[in-house]
């Protein structure tokens, strides 16, 4: 896009995104962290289908058409033709995308006998949490460009789950090559996909560089070069945006938004997010297995204060798990209002004295919680008021998640970003018994009745029939208090004014495929 006659040397064309951390892997199938999703799903890969939040319809991606059988157990997909995979120093594709790639991508997740099933140390946490392998009986290849998913039972969430950022399509040819070369683990690091950008270079703690995928099947990509500048410190992200080292910056702290008014070149892009920040108790560990203790702790915390200090009043106080932006949301009574006296009384009833608990707080900013450590400090003070001593524990993100999975912790401040528009996404992946197995259920709470309600909700396809079940699930959470929902935050990114067409969706990862840049120097 640069004029070639320009004598003055210029910055090469491209877009720099200041991201908040290192991706754990370059394969979103294996993670649930938003940082990894941002760096991979919409940049490197495509999914079979997409969900359009505007029209509230499914939209084609690698599948062009689909149909569902009468009994709701078979989903047939027609695949897009002439789709090319990326090439890299390790791989040059010899064929277009076809049904084999779809089969490989999903069999890797559901089939323990697949050569790639055990490659990678994290498993497939999202798919495990929704019990995906139990849902799918088989995936059938009808011909090169047609596949059928056979389900074991009806599931209204199935299409939504295929549209999530996790359900990406990998290259079978690449996988086979790597297996021959004896380096199967490279598939998740030197990633090959069909997406608008291809991975060029990843330097840990520093940057990820992507180049435009020149033979991308989709709409033309404007950005020739995309760089993720890995900047964990939120102030650094902000100053980089001011000094022009970044064009787009992730996760500003809500309080920083008030400084932005003094910066003429910076714009704010926001959207009410589909997310929830919560405080999860380890319900398998005493004294948190006692409902009264959980209720007492829930009554002790002052959400209003948290909202003003941590979110600068830009978030909505959570009464349940579902945010107001979800269609299944309805205002309901929160059993666990702020009442320190009640909290003290409940603790007394439970015969708990001199309670000292650990609060694990995420070290990084997340959309749903811009500063978990600060939140933990506020809660620490609230708990001190009811005579409970709290210790704050925090590690760097990667260590945090690993230690959390291994440790018998007391409680953790964490949250959930929705992956799709399906309300079930707020319950099954984080509170069901299958989520317990995938370590995504931070409350370690497994309630058969609760799972039963969710299963009922999945069997229905019409919204008005599903809503009562979700309300029942909400009521159960409010009564059993495995978690204390705290807030629903806005999803905000900052950009400089030259960037246009950057849309922030209420759920899932960020996409730069359609972003365009008007050069500030091109004035005519």
């Amino acid at each position: 896009m640069l004029s070639s006659g320009c004598s003055e040397p210029q910055l090469p064309s491209g877009l720099v995104y200041c991201s908040e951390g290192n991706p754990e892997s370059f394969n979103p199938q294996q993670v649930t962290s938003g940082t990894t999703i941002d760096a991979t799903s919409h940049q490197l890969y495509n999914r079979l289908i997409d969900y359009d939040p505007e029209t509230k319809q499914f939209a084609p991606q690698l599948a062009t058409q689909w149909s569902i059988s009468e009994d709701g157990l078979s989903y047939k997909f027609e695949l897009r033709q002439h789709v090319t995979f990326h090439n890299s120093h390790l791989f040059t594709p010899t064929r277009f995308f076809n049904a084999d790639d779809v089969l490989f991508s999903f069999n890797r997740i559901i089939d323990p006998n697949n050569a790639y099933h055990h490659v990678g140390r994290n498993g497939y946490p999202y798919f495990q949490s929704i019990n995906f392998s139990q849902l799918i009986s088989s995936i059938e290849k009808v011909n090169e460009f047609e596949v059928i998913f056979h389900l074991n039972h009806k599931d209204a969430s199935f299409m939504f789950n295929l549209a999530t950022d996790f359900a990406v399509i990998l290259s079978k040819e690449y996988a086979d090559n790597l297996l021959l070369a004896g380096t199967p683990e490279d598939i998740d690091y030197f990633a090959i996909g069909t997406g608008p950008f291809k991975l060029h270079q990843y330097v840990k703690n520093d940057h990820i560089r992507y180049h435009r995928h020149t033979s991308y099947w989709g709409p033309k990509v404007d950005t020739q070069q995309l760089v993720f500048d890995i900047t964990p410190n939120s102030t650094s992200r902000f100053t980089k945006l001011i000094t022009g080292d970044c064009n787009v910056s992730a996760l500003p702290r809500p309080a920083e938004l008030s400084v932005i008014t003094t910066q003429p070149n910076i714009r704010v892009v926001k959207n009410p997010g589909l997310n929830v920040a919560f405080w999860a108790f380890n319900t398998q560990k005493p004294p948190f297995n006692d409902l009264r203790v959980r209720q007492a702790l829930a009554h002790a915390i002052n959400k209003k204060k948290i909202l003003s200090v941590v979110y600068n009043n830009s978030a909505v106080e959570a009464s349940g798990v579902l945010p107001p932006a979800s269609w299944a949301y309805s205002k309901h009574f929160d059993n666990n209002e702020y009442d320190p006296q009640k909290a003290k009384a409940l603790l007394k009833k439970a015969h708990v004295t001199d309670l000292s608990i650990d609060i694990w707080a995420m070290p990084v900013a997340r959309t749903y919680n811009p500063n978990a450590i600060k939140m933990a400090e506020l809660i620490q003070e609230d708990l001190a008021n009811i005579g409970v001593k709290a210790n704050i524990i925090s590690y760097d993100w990667s260590v945090f998640t690993q230690k959390l999975a291994k440790t018998d912790y007391d409680s953790v401040l964490i949250g959930w970003n929705a992956d799709n528009n399906d309300p079930d996404n707020f319950f099954t992946p984080i509170l069901s018994c299958s989520a317990l197995a995938s370590k995504n259920n931070y409350s370690r709470w497994c309630n058969i009745g609760f799972d039963h309600i969710l299963a009922k909700a999945r069997e229905q396809t019409e919204q008005f029939k599903r809503q009562p079940y979700f309300q029942a699930a909400e009521a159960m959470i409010s009564n059993q208090v495995p978690i204390v929902p705290i807030a629903h935050a806005q999803k905000v990114v900052l950009k400089d004014k030259s960037i246009t067409n950057l849309h922030v969706r209420p759920y899932g990862g960020i996409s730069f495929a359609q972003t365009t840049q008007t050069s500030t120097k091109d004035k005519q």
């Binding site: 703690n205 560089r209 100053t239 590690y395």
Partner: protein, 343 residues
């Protein structure tokens, strides 16, 4: 002379082995499995585990283990990073040049400004100016580097928007790493924008280099002033004066060369503190060097990275300080003066 040289080499070897011993003992104390702390492989297969046991002699006596440890580390095998599962040695060679670049430029700034100011302080008769320079150097010596860095960042980066505040270069410049030193790599690059990239790299370097330069600058100024004041009182300077040589001639031919010897020595003694400051500066300005790498290593409890970072930085300091000491002895005026006296 040879004997002296030999003794220094011996000292270097002994210190390095002791350093390795300290690290080896610390590795055993890390709150993880020892073979994991040594190799960094997260989920080793049975063959890998056997391989690790073999390489580090884990079934053998502590002494043999230590020998194996030295062999591995000195042959450049630092294991893999626990966090990224990539070879630590590769990461180290990527971050080390960036740190050396920053340290070198900071040192250059310190000497370029510190020596003239020290000379000026020694020669000026103005008591007020002397006191002022003393106050400046003492303040510079006492200022916490992290606060200084943040203040410069806030003023020159954010409020005035003159200089970039973090990183080595605008990442849109895709510069291939040849030497690892960004200033050189940008000039070596064949890309059409290589000179623009160089300019951008220089701008990115200014704030961190100036912040890091403050400590050595104050020390260089102080020592130069002290040493020059001492030297100027020596008899050979008086003799030169008596012969009617001009002040500047005396200064540059006799005074300064002799005064710079203690400066050299003080630089050698300062290296450890300088390295500590460098780590903090790298963290503040997100400079992709060893310090930043090491600090994120400790946050991530990346034990292999911690060992490699500490070992490389300490070895660098040991060898540099011994080199400076040898240089110091080689040009020590005391020996020359003794020669003079014996005549």
């Amino acid at each position: 002379m040879w004997q002296y040289f030999f003794r220094r080499i011996n000292l270097f070897l002994a210190t390095s082995i002791l350093l390795l011993l300290v690290l080896y003992i610390a590795t055993g104390l890390f709150p993880v499995d020892k073979s994991f702390a040594l190799s960094g492989i997260a989920t080793p297969s049975t063959e890998q585990q056997l391989q690790i046991n073999q390489t580090y002699q884990l079934q053998q006596s502590a002494f043999k283990q230590f020998i194996a440890y030295i062999q591995q580390r000195l042959s450049g095998d630092f294991g893999v990073s626990i966090n990224s599962q990539q070879a630590v040695a590769g990461e180290l060679t990527r971050v080390l040049p960036a740190s050396l670049e920053l340290a070198f430029v900071a040192g250059l700034i310190a000497i370029a400004f510190g020596v003239p100011l020290g000379v000026f302080a020694a020669l000026t008769q103005n008591v007020f100016l002397q006191r002022l320079i003393l106050a400046i150097t003492l303040t510079g010596y006492s200022v916490p580097v992290f606060w200084l860095g943040l203040s410069l960042l806030l003023w020159f980066g954010v409020n005035l928007n003159w200089l970039p505040t973090s990183g080595q270069i605008n990442l849109l410049y895709d510069i291939d790493s040849v030497t690892g030193v960004m200033l050189i790599d940008t000039l070596l690059s064949a890309k059409p924008y290589s000179f623009a990239a160089f300019q951008d790299a220089v701008l990115h370097l200014i704030l961190p280099a100036v912040t890091l330069a403050v400590l050595p600058f104050t020390i260089v100024t102080r020592i130069t002033r002290q040493a020059l004041t001492n030297v100027m009182e020596q008899s050979y300077i008086r003799a030169a004066e008596a012969r009617g040589l001009g002040t500047s001639k005396i200064l540059f031919r006799h005074g300064l060369p002799n005064a710079l010897v203690p400066v050299l020595k003080s630089i050698g003694l300062m290296l450890g503190t300088f390295a500590s400051y460098g780590i903090v500066v790298e963290v503040i300005f997100s400079w992709p060097g060893v310090g930043n790498w090491l600090i994120s290593g400790i946050y991530q409890r990346d034990y292999t990275v911690i060992q490699a970072g500490i070992l490389s930085v300490s070895l660098l300091i040991i060898s540099l300080s011994i080199f400076i000491e040898m240089l110091h002895t080689a040009i020590n005026p005391v020996s020359r003066k003794e020669l003079y006296a014996s005549k």
